[in-house]
């Protein structure tokens, strides 16, 4: 009796609880995760980079190849049509600088085609002239009205933004045939007490140069916009000069100047307004 009582008193009653957690079987929920499966497969495979920089995986057993779509660069679509706009402009930089006692330059015109609001071929032409008698020097430099040309292309970094605001970087090749003369020459020799007044005949020259142009353009009102450009330029080639190289080169400016600028007023024919919807900011 006593042993039975002890046995029943020490034994705990088992009363299982039935819940969804206890009725389900343990399952590897990640077993069918395709990302992990593919990662395991990639780790065991050879791969290479094609000419576009995409990763190409090779199944070493079957020889099958496929492109890793997760590593592909997203191609940003160009939102503007091929012919976005055409602009013509007049550079008023040199006329303004002449008011600040610059002794050369005249006027510059440009025509620019806006492709996809991204690539902008440009043609520039203008007229230049110079006349300068430096106060502390012994000559007068003259260069009659001469034409110059520049051809190049700009790249607009804000190509998916409104064409009203542009930030561009471009290059130009410039060329100018012109003539120049140096007159009123006086050369003194203090030791010998002599003064010479030689003459240099009119010279003809052709010069070519390249330019790097950084530009900013904003819309002022309607089709009118304004842009200013900072230009770094260097001479590429020039004709031989028997009596000395020209000081002023039309379209380039002073020979000594590596940096110049321009301020242009544009009139734009916009072909993009009907073809493109309003651009929503990307989220």
């Amino acid at each position: 009796m006593c042993a039975v009582s002890v046995a029943t008193w020490g034994q705990r009653r088992i009363n299982p609880v039935e819940t969804p957690a206890t009725t389900t079987r343990p399952v590897n929920e990640l077993a069918n995760d395709t990302a992990r499966i593919n990662a395991r497969i990639r780790a065991s495979m050879a791969h290479y980079h094609d000419e576009n920089g995409n990763i190409i995986y090779i199944d070493t057993v079957t020889g099958r190849e496929w492109r890793d779509s997760t590593a592909m660069l997203k191609k940003i679509p160009m939102k503007y049509p091929l012919l976005t706009a055409v602009s013509v402009g007049v550079d008023i930089w040199n006329p303004v600088m002449r008011a600040f006692k610059q002794h050369y330059g005249l006027i510059d015109f440009s025509a620019k085609v806006n492709l996809h609001n991204r690539y902008q071929p440009v043609f520039e032409t203008g007229l230049g002239m110079a006349k300068n008698t430096p106060a502390d020097n012994n000559f007068t430099y003259k260069s009659p009205l001469s034409v110059y040309f520049r051809l190049g292309c700009d790249y607009n970094f804000l190509y998916n933004s409104s064409p009203d605001y542009q930030f561009t970087l471009g290059m130009r090749y410039g060329f100018s045939p012109f003539s120049y003369s140096i007159t009123d020459i006086t050369i003194n020799s203090d030791y010998w007490g002599e003064t010479a007044r030689p003459e240099i005949p009119a010279q003809h020259a052709t010069v070519g140069w390249w330019e790097l142009a950084i530009g900013l353009r904003v819309n002022l009102w309607g089709p009118i916009s304004a842009g200013w450009t900072l230009r770094y330029h260097q001479l590429l080639h020039e004709s031989k000069a028997e009596y000395g190289k020209p000081w002023y080169i039309p379209g380039y400016g002073s020979r000594q100047g590596a940096i110049t600028g321009s301020f242009t007023i544009y009139y734009t024919l916009d072909f993009s307004k009907k073809a493109v919807e309003a651009i929503a900011p990307e989220t």
Binding site: I187, W192, L230, G244, I259
Partner: protein, 178 residues
């Protein structure tokens, strides 16, 4: 208003940058040959303090260098209105102070005007065609560059006999054609 302010600020900046283009004339404002003095035995540069150098027919007999000042180089000016220049070197030292020992340097050249730059102006450039000199104390003259421009570089070297035992020669000698 904001746009107008930006435009005006950009114009001022571009004007300032465009103005920073010239550094003045870095070369000479005239073409004057730089002449150096050398020892004929060692061919090393020497400094002489007993020379009196002057040009023939210089107004007021003005001199280019007076004794007492040691010099190893000197600028000898050319004459733009002529095609010939003559310089004299007199030695004002003890028994060398003798008219018979004065050396003469005679240069023939062609002169042409040249536009050096806006800062330096117009200069003459000289092409030396012939050089004659006496050999009293001058051993020889070397013309390293016959084209004289406004670039500051030594183009004529005069080698002097510095030994006291050498006997001076009286006959003028002609240097090889430059």
């Amino acid at each position: 208003m904001g746009r107008l302010t930006s435009i005006i600020a950009a114009i001022c900046l571009l004007a300032a940058l465009s103005g920073c283009n010239t550094s003045g004339c870095l070369e000479n404002r005239s073409s004057v040959p730089l002449v150096g003095f050398y020892d004929s035995a060692t061919e090393k540069s020497i400094s002489l303090d007993s020379l009196e150098i002057y040009g023939a027919d210089a107004p007021g007999d003005s001199i280019l260098s007076a004794p007492g000042t040691p010099i190893s180089q000197i600028y000898l000016p050319m004459r733009a209105t002529k095609d010939n220049v003559m310089w004299f070197i007199a030695y004002k030292w003890k028994n060398l102070d003798n008219l018979d020992l004065v050396d003469r340097i005679d240069l023939d050249y062609t002169a042409s005007p040249y536009f050096a730059s806006e800062e330096c102006g117009v200069i003459y450039r000289y092409r030396i065609t012939r050089c004659q000199y006496t050999r009293n104390l001058i051993d020889s003259i070397a013309i390293t560059d016959s084209l004289i421009t406004n670039i500051d570089t030594e183009r004529i070297k005069i080698f002097f006999r510095t030994s006291a035992d050498d006997e001076p020669e009286d006959q003028p000698q002609e240097s090889p054609q430059p």
